[in-house]
């Protein structure tokens, strides 16, 4: 039992002479409600992803995966649903429903499977058991149960994410190095050009970008998704700002020792810029994993679909495969969720400091 002093000691960090007041209570109430709105849909969906197809179809509002208990009749055959029979005198018994008979139902008691009898249907309540269905996950991945080629999509998404991130890091770091550590004619103009690309809304150049990508023969190729995404102006800026803070003397010393420019970049600059590279890497992974519009335009054959495309197509196709759809949604959000759980601090501070997404 919590007394009120415990309660305020728990929440109330002493704020001047005020202590814990009603505005604090309001603040925590706001936060708790907010968290419910943010997290409940995701958690509910994740828990529901192990519900049976039937439970999802009948729209059971209980959060845990319940199914009706089933029993195989003594003479074999189709499994029968189990009900709890409440008699008028209050006794309770578990029965299996054999067949409905108008307002009555033909049942037998589980304890005496060979004696069937009729009871009013009103006296029966369904007996449910807790039963998670992990085959929702295994069927579309390692089984052949559905049209959802999870492993293929997962591989495509991983390939796009990894290759695009590596190329983004390399090209952006090279450009940032040139723009932060060299003085050359046209440098300011190039910086300005890169600023200008920030202002080009990607949704506005869909048609010409598509035509360009197609003319390179990259239509329906994962490279058509990867290459246009590689040169991110935000990435160049992030890295350039960081590299400007690294003293030139370090590079000069290496030059004195006869290191080539490439070696200075690779062996000195990149290791020193590791914190900024890490932030860009995290952002790039999330961007590319979650990309939807551009892959939707470039990739039209299911062989080259990314997870996001597969998922959205699967959603449009059928409604009775909800159990697979939810399970695959969980698998799709799992990687970014894990990245977020472990690197949460870097992501939020990185975005707060640079203001990019």
């Amino acid at each position: 039992m919590m007394t009120s002093t415990d309660f305020s000691a728990f929440f109330g960090r002493k704020r001047g002479r005020n202590g814990f007041d009603w505005t604090d209570a309001l603040a925590y109430t706001y936060l708790v409600i907010g968290i419910l709105i943010v997290l409940l849909p995701v958690v509910w969906m994740a828990v529901s992803s192990v519900k049976s197809q039937a439970a999802l179809g009948e729209n059971d509002p209980r959060i845990l995966p319940y199914d009706q208990a089933l029993v195989t009749p003594p003479n074999g055959g189709r499994p029968l649903g189990v009900f709890t029979l409440t008699r008028e005198n209050g006794t309770v018994e578990e029965v299996a429903l054999v067949a409905p008979r108008g307002a009555n139902a033909l049942v037998y008691a589980l304890s005496k499977p060979n004696e069937t009898f009729e009871v009013p249907r009103k006296s029966l309540t369904r007996k449910d058991v807790l039963q998670p269905h992990f085959e929702n996950y295994t069927d579309p991945t390692i089984g052949q149960a559905s049209t959802f080629k999870f492993l293929r999509y997962f591989w495509n998404s991983t390939f796009v994410t990894v290759v695009a991130t590596l190329l983004t890091l390399l090209t952006n770091a090279m450009a940032a190095f040139a723009l932060s550590k060299y003085k050359f004619r046209g440098r300011d103009a190039i910086v300005l050009i890169i600023v200008a690309t920030l202002l080009i809304p990607p949704t506005v150049i869909l048609v010409p970008l598509f035509i360009t990508v197609q003319s390179f023969g990259l239509f329906n190729s994962l490279w058509g998704v990867i290459i246009p995404a590689v040169a991110t102006p935000t990435g160049v800026f992030l890295l350039r700002q960081y590299m400007l803070t690294i003293p030139d003397e370090l590079l000069e010393a290496a030059r004195m020792d006869g290191a080539s420019e490439w070696k200075i970049f690779w062996r000195i600059m990149l290791p020193l810029a590791l914190p900024a590279l890490a932030v860009l890497a995290i952002l790039s992974v999330i961007w590319r994993w979650n990309d939807f519009m551009w892959p939707l335009i470039v990739l039209t054959q299911s062989e080259v679909f990314t997870l996001q495309l597969g998922l959205s197509t699967f959603k449009g196709e059928l409604n009775d495969n909800m159990h697979y759809l939810l399970a695959m949604t969980v698998l799709t959000l799992l990687p970014v969720t894990l990245v977020f759980v472990f690197l949460q601090k870097h992501i939020t501070t990185g975005i707060a400091n640079t203001g990019l997404k």
């Binding site: 001047g16 060299y182 202002l199 150049i205 010409p208 490439w262 799709t332």
Partner: protein
């Protein structure tokens, strides 16, 4: 310093990684060394810039120029040479409307364009203020001296990590006709109706009525009367006791007016006659993006010097006045960035809503980017020219918004 990656911890995986790193660089070194010998050290900058500028040029700048050209061509070919020049025909098809506010009067392409443009404007003008108010409220709450700020901040930010498709699938599942929301609302209505009939409700209702009426009376009555009155809490308890007596010795009161009608499931995303599809489009998009703006605003709040508040505290300035006189004025630069950024983003909304509603029911939630996408890439006739012309018009609107940002930031900086 040149051996940075090779940490001194022998046998650590980082050492191996560092060695591999160094090796990879050394393998590439002869190539770049040869180039350097050829062009000189200081021109290596151009070499470093080349890959990035190549991609920028080919996939950002060239398409931008190309867009204008395509906007003046017709046909369905992707080969530029096979696209006939049609002059302003595409623009005419989009703009030749007797009445822009009634897109039904337009040609086919114009109908789609103006419908989705008005939808987008409606969406953006409603979504942006709502989101900013909620994001600011959340940031203000998180800026207080609260426990575990990092934890709360992370949870609010989490939906930003999720892909639009995942967000749409989750909310579609919740909002289906036989979905969780309808089930919960139905349960809530049933629960309320059962609760209204219980004596507990009668007591609680009498108590609340007593407190509210007494408080109102206190506010209205002249001073002398007020002093003679008992406190509202007292009166509430008395009312509850009276209600208890009535339930014990008389007929329990019924409240037929408070019994709700049975809940009929709503087709949240499909019912075209209601405003629900657009409501949920705004809600779901806000749900997914709020955390980002909350984070930016929180960073802006934390940059405000603490001693300003301490000084105000010394002067006995009330909290709400501190909010209006210190917090909000100093937050203005961040606020401008947030408003313009969210406006530009909201104008380009596509992913979430396309997967959630497909633009439906009918065209109720079709946004301008979906119009461009569908005109160019779906259907039998791929009308690249019309789509490109639409893009030009949209780019104009976005340019206007960006100008707005530049002007308002300049004004702030100047003033």
């Amino acid at each position: 310093m040149a051996n940075m990656p090779q940490t001194k911890e022998t046998g650590s995986p980082f050492r191996l990684l560092g060695l591999a790193w160094a090796l990879l660089g050394d393998v590439l070194d002869p190539v770049f060394r040869a180039i350097q010998k050829h062009i000189g050290a200081h021109r290596m900058a151009y070499v470093f810039l080349l890959p990035n500028l190549l991609v920028f040029g080919l996939f950002s700048f060239w398409p931008m120029v190309l867009n204008f050209y395509i906007a003046f061509t017709g046909g369905t070919s992707t080969l530029l040479a096979e696209r006939p020049f049609v002059g302003l025909e595409n623009f005419r098809e989009l703009l030749a409307c007797p009445d822009y506010f009634d897109p039904k009067t337009c040609p086919v392409a114009g109908y789609s364009f103006w419908t989705s443009l008005w939808n987008t404007l409606f969406f953006a003008l409603l979504q942006v203020p709502i989101m900013i108010v909620v994001a600011l409220a959340t940031a203000l709450v998180l800026n207080r001296d609260i426990r575990a700020r990092g934890f709360w901040r992370a949870i609010f930010f989490y939906p930003v990590m999720l892909s639009p498709v995942v967000i749409a699938v989750i909310w579609d599942w919740i909002l289906k006709r036989r979905g969780i929301l309808n089930a919960l609302l139905s349960d809530a209505v049933d629960g309320w109706n059962a609760f209204v009939k219980t004596p507990v409700f009668t007591l609680a209702f009498a108590f609340v009525i007593g407190v509210v009426v007494a408080s109102l009376l206190r506010a209205v009555l002249p001073k002398g009367w007020r002093a003679r009155m008992r406190s509202p809490l007292h009166i509430g308890v008395l009312m509850a006791l009276a209600a208890f007596g009535m339930t014990m010795f008389g007929s329990p009161p019924q409240f037929p007016a408070l019994v709700l009608a049975d809940f009929r499931p709503i087709n949240w995303l499909v019912d075209g006659r209601s405003g629900w599809p657009m409501f949920w489009a705004i809600f779901v998009y806000t749900w997914g993006h709020l955390g980002f703006y909350m984070l930016i605003l929180l960073a802006g709040l934390q940059a405000i010097p603490r001693d300003l508040y301490e000084a105000a505290e010394m002067d006995g300035t009330p909290k709400w006045r501190q909010l209006w006189r210190i917090t909000l004025p100093l937050l203005t630069p961040t606020m401008i960035v947030v408003v313009v950024l969210s406006l530009i983003r909201a104008f380009q909304v596509f992913d979430e809503i396309y997967v959630l509603t497909g633009g439906g029911p009918g065209q109720a939630t079709k946004m301008i980017v979906q119009h461009i996408y569908e005109t160019a890439f779906t259907g039998d006739a791929k009308r690249y020219g019309v789509a490109a012309a639409s893009s030009v018009l949209v780019a104009g609107i976005l340019m206007l918004l960006t100008m707005l940002q530049l002007v308002s930031t300049k004004k702030k900086a100047g003033g």
